[in-house]
């Protein structure tokens, strides 16, 4: 079982002091400790953004890739070696902007990967432009006044549900223990898992602050009457709840065969274990198909 110390990276985070990404980093490490996942057993694929640098700040297999493309890269890695745990970690601009179609296709495939999205409702790394989850009217340099952002914000959890994700959750960077539990459960879940994380950007988002969220978030399982995470209609309703009250926790979790389950080629061994071995007699037989 790894300890928090084992997961220490060579470099310290370059995130702004107080950035929600510190909480996400802690939660990822905690999840590995609590669920006994060694650094070499997990591959964290990230896109581009402040938060996407996360694997640089811990001890784990990482792949820091392209803006918006972490999900298909993770999908390829998972298909090639489904014995690895594969997770993506990236921002909302990355995943709900450029990468939105990849997210929906991953959900409908039910590929067995976990996506953690650091949702700070702005673009951090490119200095504060509005993001796909910014509220209508948000004023930034690319959404100047008077109108501010004209679009409706993306509702990622609802989209993921509609697309067929089998695990849909929301966490809050201020509560890494609770988030770690969700991440651990997501990694243990067989199928596509999306975890939207409320991640305050202390530099560019002066509205959605720790306090702003703290006043609003509540845990679904603590609501009066409890919560049934297998109820799709209830989940869809929760996924669209945003404003005075913001639900966190596992909104939806069901079992459905994963994409990999349908692939006979990797039933016994992963593609990587199959290596480059070829049955020459079989290949000679294949020639006859052309005759």
């Amino acid at each position: 079982m790894p300890s928090m110390k084992d997961l220490q990276g060579r470099d310290r985070p370059t995130w702004c002091p107080g950035c929600g990404d510190h909480g996400v980093l802690n939660a990822v490490k905690l999840a590995m400790v609590n669920y006994n996942i060694e650094p070499h057993q997990l591959l964290i694929v990230t896109g581009i953004g402040c938060g996407s640098k996360l694997p640089q700040y811990m001890w784990v297999n990482g792949l820091h890739t392209l803006h918006g493309r972490d999900i298909p890269i993770a999908t390829g890695a998972k298909l090639a070696n489904h014995k690895l745990y594969v997770m993506t970690v990236s921002g909302d601009g990355n995943t709900y902007g450029m990468g939105l179609s990849h997210l929906l296709h991953a959900a409908r495939r039910n590929i067995n990967i976990t996506s953690v999205v650091q949702n700070n409702q702005v673009y951090g790394l490119t200095k504060g432009q509005y993001s796909p989850t910014s509220e209508t009217g948000t004023v930034t340099k690319t959404s100047p006044p008077p109108a501010g952002a004209i679009e409706q914000p993306v509702r990622p959890l609802a989209l993921a549900l509609i697309a067929g994700a089998t695990f849909v959750a929301r966490g809050f960077a201020k509560d890494p223990r609770y988030l770690a539990d969700i991440i651990g459960k997501a990694l243990m879940h067989r199928g596509y898992a999306l975890i939207d994380v409320l991640q305050p950007c202390v530099t560019f988002n002066r509205v959605n602050t720790y306090d702003w969220y703290s006043e609003r978030v509540y845990k679904v399982e603590e609501q009066p009457g409890g919560y049934d995470p297998t109820d799709f209609a209830a989940a869809l309703e929760k996924a669209q709840e945003w404003g005075d009250r913001i639900p966190i926790g596992i909104l939806y979790q069901v079992e459905r065969p994963t994409y990999e389950d349908h692939l006979p080629a990797i039933r016994e061994q992963s593609l990587v274990e199959l290596g480059v071995h070829r049955d020459m007699a079989e290949l000679e037989r294949l020639k006859r198909e052309f005759m």
């Binding site: 581009i48 890739t65 993770a74 390829g76 890695a77 298909l79 090639a80 199959l274 480059v276």
Partner: protein
């Protein structure tokens, strides 16, 4: 009487079944021990519009189609109108008796000394088979009839092709074929000179196109993963691999777009599976950012670009070699990518497996530039021509689990080495935990912006350029070494060029051909040396700008004097090249 040396052209509308009957007809003749070259020409539409297949038959191996057509099988009036000028004296036009062809055309046909063979194709299909769609079965059977090609071969192919669709289907097609065959034999065979006679004892041969050859080569080379988004003419590779995935231990993914396709392949390559993306120009354009990521993160991946005319969606179903310079420089920044341009089916097969060796050895993307002509033309090949025993697997500096177990000290993914290639570990081993990086980084994989790190890592990656040059094969030379003219081409141009050489050199040595298959890193010395021995140099390229000629000039300083260019969306014919050479010589 000309025997076993002729060309059929089967022309009609999309939706008439030209494609499948041409395939069946070519196969039947190949089964009789003859050689085939089967060229396809079709429009980007599913119904209507003119399509044709040109099937050349010979007792000798073939590498190209020819412009001349001895038997024109016309399913439509348009097919007669378009193709009769290709039929020489002694040739024939076989057509449905009811086709509304203008008198003026028939007069021109007669003036050429070409015979007209009307056959009630439609009537036979309807009355005997019960469906107009069987007209193409009737047409190919009639073509067999006039050339006295034994019916048994046609029968065999019908049984194989329609067997899956039930006995009723087989017997209806057989009846149609038999009636058309007998009609043509009785009415016309006596007055037609060309015949096809089976060659007894000929060894069974393969008949396959360049896409199939490449895909087969990839499987032979240990390809485990393929991802793509359909785009002509690259997608048949994806389809072929998908059809063979379970049997041969592959995962094949039709993705949401080309960006996802290459990203998945890069992900699969990063963790250690040999991964391929088949596509065509527009799809490759979308992949360019990820190409650079593979270059920076030093991830092996193979991209097969079956070129078609651009820009944009251009001519979707046609031929061009227009992506050469784009392939060399696609993506921002400077890094090694290997570019191969197979020209024949044998070379396509070889590129299928060799590309993975190069990708893994140099830990970088490899682009295989196919083109429409190679991708879609079929040729007969001896089974040994695709030599499985020659297939080698080289994984370069990939560390095995045992080597990792024995590792002393820390593992650094981007260790600085003399040849630029760092020992590679795939994720999953406790001794090799690291971050693969798309940002500039240091030897450990840590994001780095210091001058020393940038220079050291960029220089390391670029050293692979010189290392990889050692794996590049020199160009192949064909034709007599003393021939004064040196034609210079790349990719599938070699196939018609080889025929052109035969024509040009029939009397005295006139031309030789320099065939460049390994395009990047450019084998500059070998190319310069070969060109130094030529008196007249002519670039032959299916593009307008002379991209290879520019590359040669850039890399060797040698300027090719002449250029035979073709960018009308059609492949070179041997005759076109011959005309081009003669123009240069007589100018």
């Amino acid at each position: 009487m000309p025997k076993n040396d002729l060309t059929f052209l089967l022309g009609g509308e999309a939706g008439q079944g030209i494609e499948s009957s041409a395939t069946g007809f070519a196969k039947a003749i190949a089964h009789a021990g003859l050689h085939i070259f089967d060229l396809r020409d079709y429009r980007s539409r599913i119904r209507g519009g003119h399509n044709f297949a040109q099937i050349r038959v010979s007792a000798e191996p073939l590498t190209s189609h020819r412009e001349t057509v001895h038997v024109l099988l016309a399913m439509t009036e348009e097919a007669v109108r378009r193709h009769y000028p290709q039929v020489p004296a002694g040739g024939a036009i076989l057509y449905d008796e009811a086709l509304p062809v203008e008198d003026a055309i028939w007069e021109a046909v007669q003036a050429r000394g070409v015979q007209r063979f009307p056959v009630p194709l439609r009537k036979i299909a309807e009355e005997i088979g019960g469906a107009v769609v069987m007209m193409n079965t009737a047409a190919t059977a009639a073509a067999a009839g006039v050339t006295r090609f034994p019916f048994s071969y046609i029968e065999e192919i019908i049984r194989v092709n329609f067997g899956k669709r039930g006995e009723a289907m087989v017997s209806a097609n057989l009846k149609v074929a038999d009636a058309a065959y007998r009609y043509a034999l009785e009415h016309y065979a006596g007055s037609f000179d060309h015949t096809i006679e089976p060659i007894p004892g000929a060894p069974p041969r393969m008949l396959l196109n360049g896409n199939e050859a490449f895909a087969f080569g990839a499987v032979a080379g240990g390809c485990r993963f393929a991802a793509g988004y359909p785009m002509t003419p690259g997608s048949p590779v994806l389809e072929w691999l998908a059809g063979h995935a379970n049997q041969y231990g592959l995962v094949v993914k039709h993705t949401e777009d080309e960006i996802a396709a290459i990203c998945m392949a890069v992900g699969a390559g990063h963790v250690g599976a040999r991964a391929l993306v088949p596509t065509s120009g527009g799809g490759f354009s979308l992949m360019v950012e990820a190409l650079g990521f593979a270059g920076m993160s030093e991830t092996p991946v193979v991209i097969y670009n079956a070129q078609r005319p651009g820009p944009s969606t251009g001519l979707p179903t046609r031929q061009e070699q227009g992506d050469l310079l784009f392939s060399l420089w696609a993506s921002q920044g400077e890094f090694l990518r290997v570019v191969l341009a197979p020209g024949t089916h044998e070379e396509a097969f070889e590129a299928g497996w060799r590309s993975f060796n190069l990708a893994e050895t140099y830990q970088t993307p490899v682009i295989v530039l196919g083109d429409h002509f190679l991708a879609t033309s079929s040729r007969t090949l001896e089974p040994e021509a695709l030599d499985l025993s020659a297939v080698q697997v080289e994984r370069g500096k990939l560390l095995s689990p045992a080597e990792l177990d024995a590792l002393e000290g820390e593992y650094y993914r981007y260790a600085i080495t003399e040849d630029g290639v760092s020992p590679r570990a795939v994720p999953g081993h406790p001794k090799a935990v690291y971050v693969g990086e798309g940002n500039e980084h240091d030897y450990q994989g840590r994001i780095a912006e210091e001058i020393e790190d940038r220079v050291a890592l960029n220089a390391k990656r670029l050293r692979k350029l010189e290392t990889a040059r050692q794996s590049m094969r020199p160009p192949k030379r064909y034709g007599p070494a003393e021939a004064p003219v040196m034609l210079v081409g790349w990719g599938s141009t070699v196939m018609p060029a080889l025929e052109a050489l035969r024509i040009l050199n029939a009397e005295r040595p006139t031309a030789q051909y320099l065939h460049i298959t390994d395009v990047w890193p450019f084998p500059a010395e070998a190319v310069a040396q070969a060109l130094g021995e030529a008196r007249v140099t002519i670039a032959v390229e299916n593009n307008a700008l002379g991209q290879m000629a520019r590359l040669i000039r850039q890399e060797t300083g040698i300027r090719l004097e002449h250029f035979i260019s073709k960018y009308d969306g059609r492949p070179f014919s041997p005759e076109y090249i011959v005309r081009g050479v003669r123009e240069v010589l007589h100018a």
